[in-house]
Symmetry: C2
Subunit: 343 residues, 2 copies
DNA sequence: CAAACTGCGGAATACGTTTTCCAACGGAAT
DNA sequence: ATTCCGTTGGAAAACGTATTCCGCAGTTTG
C-alpha cells in the first residue's frame, strides 16, 4: 500500500479470488462488450461482492472518458439555484454521471480560479450558472480558459444569459417581464413601481425592459412608471417597500419585482409599513420559487422552468457536441392572490 | 489520444517545452520537497502557463492521497442544509480540498447506492448529513459499507444524530428544545401545542422531548401540552395551524414548532385562518435559517450553528484520524417578534 | 590531492484500470 | 482428416503522474 488512502481491494484481488485473469474480471465488472463464459462471470461477480470491490474511478478515468460533470454556481443558497442544482443532480444520476459542485459566492475573480481547479478533474463537461458570465470579464481570461478546456475535448454549458459562444440555456427574461407588465396593466393598475436590480445584472435588466414593454402595451404612460433600484435580496425588497411607503406611495397601486425573493421582501415591507397586499398594492415576482406558493398572500409570479433548465443543461453536457446551441425557455404567468384587479 | 475526452496537455508536453525531464517538471509543479535549480524552475513555470497546463487529478490520485471530500445529503434544497453545504465548500477550499455533493432525496435505499458510487471516487472522506443514519438501517448494510470504506483508510464523518461509531457532529437538539420550551413557559403561556415531526426522525424526537422538559420545568402540566404530528415542511406547518385554528384553538396561546420551516408555515396558516401572530398565538422554531430573520413577524427561534457544523465536519474529515469523536454544538435562543409575553 | 559528501537532473517504476492483440480451443465445413 | 472460423482467456501496453534510485558534477574535508 503506497500511501495511506489507498489500501483498497483492487481488480487484481478480485481476479485472484475468482481464479481468473485481470482482463476477464475487468470485462465482467466494467460493462465490456466482450462476452465471458457464464461460469466465470458468476465467479467474478461473487468474488467482487464478497470483497466489497468498487472500481477506482481515478484509474478508470485514465482509460475511459470520465463521467463527472462539474458545476460552477454563483451561490448555492439561492432558492432558484437550489432547484436547478437538485434537478441537475437527479438527471445526471439517471444517466450514470455525477455532479461536483463549487460555488464562487459571486466573486468574479473566483470564477476563474474555480474553473482552473475544476479542469484538473477532467470532467466531461463544465456547467456554469450565473447571470454574469460575460466574455470580456477579467480581460477575457475566463473566456480563454474555457476555450482551451473546450479545445481539449470538454464541453461548456452556460445556464443564464451570456454573450459567449458556448452551448447555453437561458430564460426569456424579457418576455417574462412583459407578461407580468401586461397583466398588471390589463388589470387596471394606474401607477406602477418596478423594484429593479443593480444595473450590471444582465438578466435583471432584461426583466425590467420587459416590464416597461408590457406596461406600455397595456396603455400606461412613461410618467406612470417608476424604477426603484434596490439590492436583489429579500432585504432589498423590504427596504424599497418601506421607503416607498414612507414617501406616501404617491398613488402607486402595483409593484413589479425583478424576482420572487425581492417581491416577498417587498410584501413584508409593505405590511410592516401598515399597507395591505393586495388591498392597497399588488405585488408580482418572477421565478416561482417554492416559497412563492407558500407565503400569504400567495405570490402572483411568472414561473420559470427552473428544473427543466437543470435537466436540459445536463442533456447538453452529456449529449453530442453542438457548437453554440441556444435553448431559451419561456415563463408562464401564474396569478395568485398577491394581485387584485383595480375597479 | 486514446479517447475523446483526453487530448489534454500533459506533464510530458510541459517538460518537452521547457527542455527538462518529466521528473523535474513534476517537482516544480507538484509541490515537491526536492529543490530544482531556479533556472529550470522558471522555465517549467513559463511553459506550464503558456500551455495552460493543469494537472490531471485522476492521475495524481493514483500516486498521492486524494483531496476530494464526498458529501451525501438528504436534500440539498432544505434551507438549513444549504447553509451547511455552503460552509463546507468554503472551508474545504481554504484547505485545498474540494467537495462533491450528492443528494439522496430522503430515500434510504439510495443512501447505500450513493455511498457505493461515491466510494469509487476514493475520496479522502465521506461526510453524511441526515437525521436518519442509524446502524440498523437496511439490515446494517449501510453500516457494513461504511465500515469497509473506513478499513480501507477512508474517513467517515456524520453530521446529525447517529448511533454509529464514526466521527460525528451533532446539535444538542434536546437542549435546544428545552430552552425554547422554558422560554415559552416563563413568558406566561398557559396552553401550548407542539408541531412535531414524524416519529422516525430522531432529532425531531429529541427536540420534542426537549420542548416537554422545558415546559414542565416552567410549570406547565402534562394536560396543557398537546402534540400535533405533522409533516416536516412548510405545508405541514401550514396545515397543522389551519386545523388547530379550525378546531377553535381550545385555549392554545403558543406553538413550538420542530424547526423554522414548520414554524413559518404555521405562521402563514394562522394568518390565513384569521389569527394574528403574536397577538393571538406565539410561535417559535429551531434552526435560525436565514429566512427566519426576514419574515414578518420575525421568528423567535433557537439558532443552531449550522455553518460551524459544516466547518467542523470538514476539519474532522481533513484532520488526523480519531475514532468515534463526538462534537455536540449548542443552540442559542434568539427572541424576536413572533412571541409575546402573556400578562 | 584523494575521498567523501552534497545538490540536482533523469531514467525507470508503480499506481489500477481498460483494451488491443495473440493464442488456444472447439466445432463446422470441405 | 484437414482447414478455417468463431469464441474466449490471458499477457501486455497504455493512460499521466509522483517518486525512488542512480549517476554526474561540483564542493568540502582530511
Amino acid at each position: 500500500m503506497p500511501h495511506a488512502a489507498r489500501p483498497t481491494v483492487t481488480l487484481h484481488d478480485v481476479a485472484a479470488a475468482a481464479g481468473v485473469s485481470i482482463s476477464t474480471a475487468s470485462r465482467v465488472l466494467g460493462g465490456s462488450t466482450r462476452k465471458v463464459a457464464p461460469e466465470n462471470e458468476a465467479r467474478v461477480l461473487a468474488a467482487a461482492a464478497a470483497l466489497r470491490y468498487t472500481v477506482d474511478a481515478s484509474a478508470r478515468a485514465m482509460r475511459r472518458a470520465s463521467d463527472s460533470i462539474a458545476l460552477v454556481a454563483d451561490d448555492l443558497t439561492t432558492p432558484s439555484m437550489a432547484v436547478v442544482v437538485a434537478a441537475m443532480e437527479r438527471e445526471a444520476r439517471t444517466a450514470g454521471a455525477f455532479v461536483t459542485v463549487s460555488s464562487t459566492m459571486g466573486a468574479v475573480e473566483r470564477q476563474l480560479e474555480t474553473v482552473r481547479v475544476l479542469r484538473s478533474l477532467r470532467p466531461r463537461a463544465l456547467v456554469l450558472t450565473s447571470s454574469r458570465f460575460m466574455a470580456n470579464a477579467l480581460g477575457g481570461r475566463l473566456l480563454k480558459e474555457l476555450g482551451s478546456y473546450e479545445r481539449e475535448g470538454g464541453r461548456v454549458v452556460i445556464v443564464g444569459e451570456t454573450d459567449m459562444t458556448f452551448d447555453a440555456i437561458g430564460f426569456d427574461d424579457f418576455a417574462a417581464g412583459r407578461s407580468a407588465g401586461a397583466f398588471v396593466a390589463e388589470t387596471g393598475h394606474r401607477r406602477v413601481a418596478i423594484f429593479g436590480g443593480a444595473r450590471e445584472l444582465r438578466n435583471m435588466g432584461s426583466r425590467t425592459a420587459g416590464f416597461m414593454a408590457g406596461l406600455r402595451a397595456g396603455g400606461l404612460a412613461e410618467r406612470d412608471i417608476r424604477i426603484v433600484y434596490c439590492e436583489v435580496s429579500r432585504q432589498g425588497g423590504f427596504d424599497a417597500a418601506r421607503r416607498l411607503a414612507g414617501e406616501g406611495m404617491s398613488g402607486t397601486d402595483a409593484v413589479l419585482a425583478v424576482n420572487d425573493t425581492v417581491a416577498i421582501g417587498a410584501m413584508s415591507g409593505f405590511r410592516a409599513a401598515g399597507l395591505a397586499v393586495p388591498e392597497d398594492v399588488s405585488v408580482t415576482g418572477i421565478d416561482d420559487i417554492p416559497l412563492a406558493g407558500d407565503v400569504t398572500p400567495r405570490l402572483t409570479t411568472v414561473a420559470l422552468p427552473l428544473a427543466q433548465a437543470g435537466v436540459e443543461a445536463i442533456r447538453f453536457a452529456l449529449g453530442n457536441a453542438g457548437a453554440g446551441r441556444r435553448l431559451t425557455l419561456e415563463g408562464r404567468l401564474i396569478v395568485r392572490e398577491s394581485t387584485r384587479p383595480r375597479k
